[in-house]
């Protein structure tokens, strides 16, 4: 009845533990230097303890073999991350964001509690192994219930639309090493839970569930990336982009669920592999990018990219690492985002050819188109984030006078950057490893046909490197005795020292804002007083409509219910008798 912490060691758990530890090591190294910035106002030990607790509880969640200990660690993870989010408590907005985050994650926790309660009801056990034994006997109604609860429970933690609103609030407010962990790892832990419940506990969810997951995943991806595009806060952009990647993974899971329903296990295994691989890849490059953002914040103390620029001179290592991260996230070969992006798109395409139901085909096809648009937009967004922040000329004093970064921070970033390259180039081996397990899971081990030609990326990389090398040598030879003039950039004859002749972050995405601005509630105002001044604002429409209206409803009810508590004492006495009479009537009537 009570939790006995009993760890399990199946491949899924081990895989996610591997991800957690893989990300944690560089982040820990990074933290050593990063914490210096906070030592003035906040306690460093406090942060270290919390990070330790946070990571330990994430490992606990992934390793639990029992619903109770799963939930305990899950909540511990939420608590630890909450206190990390409000670590810089002296800013009021941080507290607000933290509270919002904690409430959302509590929603997630409650859904999960109910879900496991249902599982307990159906299977009579909190133990995962017992639940798995039962998994063939779930009726479809039971599956629907579990699925819906799991979707909301894990979804609120993952940040799927419409439960994503905490992501762009919590991630920017948390210290960057923490946001790296949160975005890189914590979201994956939620995904782990979802995969475990849907694929391992339920075995196969009904078709509609797959369709729902696919649609939600795609919506999340496109919605969040278009929002990301219009952000000027680096970390907010990255937070939205995290939601986008989760959406992609989710969409792939949806494909897998649909295909399992049609018993097309080969394709299902491919899609599942794609999702799992993207978990790893996203963990690496997103934590890298968050660490980079942290370095920028450390050095310049601003997150607004319109105040930055030209950082590549003063922060060489960070610039190069960010470049690698940018390439990885925009699926440039041979960096790692590329491998999983291809697999996801491939699973879409193969699903289209495999399924015979025309409506499902149309659905997958249109989702695929949107996913493709998403990857294009991801390229746009990250190019913006890197280009505006690191290239060009400093746009403000902050970007000009830059603090030097401690070496440990650089080491942390470099490790992740190297990981991004390694996992990119050697992705075929990782894919074959993962697909071995997914095939096992879906009982099609041995028939490994859906993963041929994967080593091509290595050949490609080699050719690319060779040719680059040849060209480099040629260039060296060619440039002997050439005079190279280094000068100011030509600015049509005007004084080019002004940094504001450059494009800003908002200007960079202006075309997209014009077409997709509605999705991010984009508003532009031009003031003509004294000097011309353009202010542009964006906000989350889901938050604006859904969250605010539900808050309004709660507020309304509160006002009404509060009145019960205040009033004349005579009224209070009357309450007793009214409830007595009602209770009597009920009891006499129904008992």
């Amino acid at each position: 009845m009570l939790p006995l912490i009993n760890f399990q060691k199946d491949w899924l758990s081990l895989y996610f533990i591997f991800i957690i530890i893989l990300i944690f090591i560089p982040v820990a190294i990074y933290t050593k230097g990063y914490i210096l910035e906070y030592k003035k106002h906040y306690s460093a030990n406090y942060m270290l303890v919390l990070i330790g607790l946070f990571v330990a509880s994430m490992i606990g969640v992934v390793a639990s073999s029992n619903a109770i200990s799963f939930l305990v660690f899950w909540e511990l993870m939420s608590i630890a991350s909450f206190f990390l989010v409000i670590y810089e408590y002296m800013h009021k907005e941080n507290l607000k964001a933290g509270i919002f985050y904690f409430v959302m994650t509590h929603i997630s926790g409650l859904f999960l509690m109910i879900m496991f309660a249902f599982l307990y009801k159906y299977t009579g056990s909190f133990d995962f192994s017992e639940i798995i034994k039962f998994s063939a006997n779930f009726s479809s109604k039971q599956k629907y219930i579990i699925f819906i609860l799991a979707l909301f429970g894990f979804g609120a933690k993952m940040g799927i639309v419409p439960l994503h609103a905490w992501l762009p609030k919590a991630h920017p407010t948390a210290p960057s090493n923490v946001s790296a962990l949160m975005s890189g790892v914590m979201l994956k832990v939620a995904l782990y839970g979802f995969i475990r419940v849907i694929f391992i506990f339920l075995g196969s969810a009904p078709l509609i569930c797959g369709v729902i997951v696919l649609i939600i995943g795609t919506t999340t991806a496109i919605f969040s990336i278009l929002n990301a595009l219009l952000q000027n806060n680096i970390k907010k952009l990255l937070a939205y982009s995290s939601a986008e990647n989760i959406g992609l993974i989710f969409a792939a899971l949806g494909i897998s669920m649909i295909l399992i329903n049609y018993n097309l296990l080969m394709g299902a295994s491919l899609a599942l592999t794609a999702a799992l691989l993207h978990c790893l890849n996203h963990a690496i490059f997103k934590s890298l990018l968050f660490l980079n953002a942290g370095s920028v914040l450390y050095a310049t103390s601003t997150k607004n990219m319109n105040e930055l620029g030209g950082l590549h001179k003063s922060m060489k290592v960070t610039a190069i690492c960010t470049f690698i991260g940018t390439c990885a996230i925009s699926a440039i070969p041979p960096f790692n985002g590329f491998a999983s992006e291809i697999l996801i798109l491939r699973s879409f395409i193969e699903a289209i050819t495999m399924v015979s139901n025309i409506w499902i085909i149309i659905l997958i096809f249109s989702c695929g188109i949107i996913v493709a648009l998403t990857s294009g937009a991801a390229f746009y967004a990250t190019a913006k984030s890197f280009g505006i922040t690191f290239l060009g000329k400093p746009r403000s004093q902050k970007a000009e006078h830059v603090k030097t970064i401690p070496r440990s921070m650089n080491i942390g970033q470099i490790i992740l950057a190297v990981l991004a390259i390694i996992t990119g180039i050697f992705s075929p081996f990782i894919i074959s490893k993962i697909s071995y397990y997914t095939n096992n899971l879906l009982d099609i081990s041995g028939k490994n046909s859906s993963f041929k030609n994967e080593t091509e990326i290595i050949i490609f990389t080699m050719i690319l490197i060779i040719i680059t090398f040849i060209l480099y040598m040629f260039n060296r030879v060619n440039s002997i005795n050439k005079n190279v003039v280094i000068n100011d950039t030509w600015a049509c004859g005007y004084n080019s020292d002004k940094p504001y002749i450059q494009y800003t972050g908002s200007g960079f995405v202006q075309p997209a804002a014009k077409i997709f601005g509605n999705i991010a509630n984009y508003n532009k105002k031009v003031n003509y007083k004294k000097s011309i001044n353009i202010s542009q604002t964006t906000s989350d429409i889901v938050e604006d409509y859904l969250y605010k209206s539900s808050l309004k409803a709660v507020n309304f009810l509160t006002t009404k219910i509060l009145k019960i508590n205040y009033g004349k004492i005579q009224l209070h006495i009357l309450y007793i008798f009214i409830s007595l009479i009602i209770a009597l009537i009920l009891v006499l009537k129904f008992v």
């Binding site: 610039a319 470049f323 590329f338 395409i349 188109i369 294009g376 746009y380 000329k393 990326i457 040719i467």
Partner: protein
């Protein structure tokens, strides 16, 4: 080994000949416009002149400008190794369409970042527009891959062209897809109506704006890579959609026929581009963007046709 050597030869040929094709394209355009125009070898002269020149580098530029042009060219050259030109077989193991398409991503990201690198006004503008257009073009490329996969159940360009070379009669879906992809090519390669490759008028340019601050050998690399990129795209179009006549057996006659048909098809494509570029004007950025949804709905029509007919 023999095959591989041959592929290498094919690809090297493309690298060498692409400036020539661009020269031909320019010649066609000037002929269509009714003036004499420069020699078809002019691109070679331009490149060699640029290679000989010294460079002016902005003091703001970063490692992106230093390595960018080289990597861009390298990536463009690498892609040539992954496509069939006038010979194809089923035995090939490289040539994944995805890798091809994403390899152009390398070119894209570097050009975009080069645009932002030198802190000039135009660079940012060009980068912004280029990113926007390529974002909108992404679904098109995806659609192309879907379509080809549905047709041939394969992602490999070599296999696709091998399988499609057997087709004699093209159905509607195929043709629609081809048109769609052609427009995708125009978008990806910064041609009219999306961009005008000839002007340097700041309000209209995209690709040229990004590389405005490059000079000397760097400029040469980028120019060459853009030539190669266009030709590679055209080859993909040709060999995936109309691979009639491509050599599928390794015999001299087949290769010869393949080569000749290939040249003809390529020239035809170039003529098509020349005609478009002389008759149409560059449209506004958002007008151009409207083409993409149109293309996507065309694509949907094509896919639906395949399934229903």
């Amino acid at each position: 080994m023999k095959y591989n050597l041959f592929y290498f030869f094919q690809s090297a040929l493309i690298v060498c000949l692409s400036p020539l094709f661009i020269g031909i394209l320019k010649k066609m355009k000037s002929t269509l416009r009714g003036y004499k125009g420069s020699s078809i070898l002019q691109p070679y002269y331009d490149l060699s002149k640029l290679l000989k020149k010294g460079m002016v580098i902005s003091n703001r530029s970063s490692f992106i400008t230093t390595i960018g042009p080289l990597v861009i060219l390298a990536a463009a050259v690498t892609t040539t190794f992954f496509i069939p030109v006038f010979y194809t077989s089923m035995e090939n193991t490289i040539g994944n369409l995805f890798i091809l398409m994403f390899a152009f991503g390398i070119v894209k990201i570097f050009t975009v970042l080069i645009g932002l690198d030198s802190a000039s006004t135009f660079g940012g503008m060009g980068s912004s527009r280029e990113s926007f257009i390529s974002m909108m073009a992404e679904p098109l490329i995806f659609f192309l891959i879907i379509f080809l996969y549905i047709e041939t159940k394969d992602f490999n360009v070599f296999h696709i062209s091998f399988i499609n070379s057997k087709i004699v009669h093209f159905d509607t879906a195929h043709l629609i897809a081809m048109v769609t992809f052609s427009i995708g090519i125009l978008a990806e390669n910064a041609r009219i109506p999306f961009d005008n490759p000839e002007t340097h008028l700041e309000l209209t340019m995209m690709h040229e704006a990004m590389i405005l601050d490059l000079s000397g050998s760097d400029l040469a690399y980028v120019e060459l890579s853009s030539y190669i990129k266009l030709i590679v795209y055209l080859i993909i179009l040709i060999n995936c959609f109309v691979p009639i006549g491509i050599a599928t057996t390794f015999t001299a006659t087949a290769l010869l026929i393949g080569f000749i048909t290939f040249i003809f098809k390529l020239l035809f494509c170039l003529l098509g581009i020349a005609i478009i570029e002389t008759t149409l004007a560059k449209s506004r950025l958002f007008r151009g963007a409207e083409l993409f949804p149109a293309m996507i709905s065309l694509g949907i029509v094509a896919i639906t046709l395949i399934y229903i007919l």
